[in-house]
Amino acid sequence: MFDLLMSFLTNTGYFFISQDIRYLIMIAVGCVFLYLGIAKQYEPLLLVPIAFGIVVGNIPFFKGFGLGIYEDNSVFHYLYFGVTTGLYPSIVFLGLGAMTDFSSLLAQPKLMLLGAAAQMGVFFTLVGALFLGFLPKEAASIAIIGGADGPTSIFLTAKLAPHLIGPIAIAAYSYMALIPVIQPPIMRLLTTREERLIRMEEPREVSRTERLIFPILGVLLCCLLAPTALPLLGMLFFGNLMKECGVVDRLASTARSAIIDTATIFLGFCVGMSTQADVFLTPKSLLIFALGAVAFSLATASGLIFGKIMNLFLKKKINPLLGAAGVSAVPGSAREVHLMGQHEDPTNYLLMHAMACNSSGVIGSAIAAGVLWSFNMMG
């Protein structure tokens, strides 16, 4: 009886926490994330599942029972399978495609360049991470944080540096949630008030045929150039075609509800759980967080500056704030751009234009991920 009691007690989470305080730190981090997601409403669809996953994943246990996300045959391991194989990110892209309206992008194709420009942040960070001594595959995974796209980051990391999924995903999602904190200062720093006041024209009407052709053209042009972007972009454009073709509405509607919700729940929760303190709390993670912030800021800056450069050549100037929405981080960065625009001039509606940059940022970072993947496989 006493033996049983003792062996039970030494298997409680309380006991393990008393041995290794890092679990407690991570639980506290989880609670902070919950606070940000729920009370501050920073991207709750991402933060709430991740944050609760962090709490659950850091309740320590005896390794060997088959309980944890890193142990074979555990329930959580099977759910985590969708992360490590890249299934959840691809499925999220399917649903994302089925809910994204590319109309305003189609009406203003030049805004697509801002989505490309913001990816420069990715490549700056790649160099930076190599400078700090990371291995090439790790550096690529870290750099993609600058793409500001959670599923893309997770997908690339799962392929190149699966041991870093935890920190990279957390960094990516944290910075996406912190957009209202990170982006506005950079936006103010790099643009003048005059630029921020620039109004965009009402985009023209886009016909159904155009919206229909876009996903087909998009998948062909992007993936013939970078076939490694197929698992993400193939799904994204598939979802979008289902949405736009109008003859498979029931499929599109399931894709943008039950399917994406299920993938979102399990993706977020598992990514949270993967932050188990003993594998997560390392100096490397801290370095990744630092680089992630750099990547994110550089991406924002690249977009803004490219917008200003474009204005040197364009007769009809664009509002360079839109460049900040090129990072993707759907729809947070678009909202920031809109709010910043309205802050200067409450009658200036940038939302639709910013969404166009947003969605091209999603495409841009998926291509960037594909390119980084193939560089590292060819290398």
């Binding site: 189609l106 030049k110 360049l113 490309a116 420009a117 400078f131 700090l132 052709i213």
Partner: protein
């Protein structure tokens, strides 16, 4: 570590080339989508010209079908009662009152043409009568 690590791992090339590829990809795509517009216009004009000539392949069949499935629903069909006939056997299965959703699902299940639009027309023609609370009945 340091610049050596960048050079050793092709960092500069990767960054430069990577950035160029992403930019190239989106530039191509943005040029392409700025042209869809024209393509569509051209195609639709061609289509308007071609339309008067009857379709090529399975002529008889196509007509049978197209009368029902392929016309563009710009306005409600004049022969709304004929359309109503198509719906009557379905409605019969739904009972005296039903929700539009049910009717729509059935119509979609039998692949009847343009169910949303047709149901709208049936309402306009007072063949489908609202009974309150989202329920409808059939007035024939």
């Amino acid at each position: 570590m340091g610049l050596d690590n960048i050079a050793l791992n092709n960092g500069w090339s990767q960054a430069l080339l990577g950035a160029s590829i992403v930019m190239t990809g989106l530039v191509i795509l943005s040029i392409a989508i700025s042209q869809i517009h024209k393509l569509v216009d051209f195609w639709e004009k061609r289509g308007q010209k071609a339309e008067p000539e009857p379709a090529t392949a399975p002529a008889g069949t196509a007509t049978t079908v197209s009368g029902l499935t392929l016309e563009v629903p710009d306005q409600c069909p004049a022969d709304i009662n004929q359309v109503a006939d198509l719906y009557r056997p379905i409605v019969a299965q739904l009972g005296t009152t039903f929700e539009l959703r049910e009717l729509y699902q059935r119509a979609a299940q039998f692949d009847l043409p343009h169910p949303h639009f047709t149901i709208k027309c049936l309402r306009d023609a007072h063949i489908l009568i609202p009974q309150g609370d989202g329920f409808f009945s059939w007035n024939q």
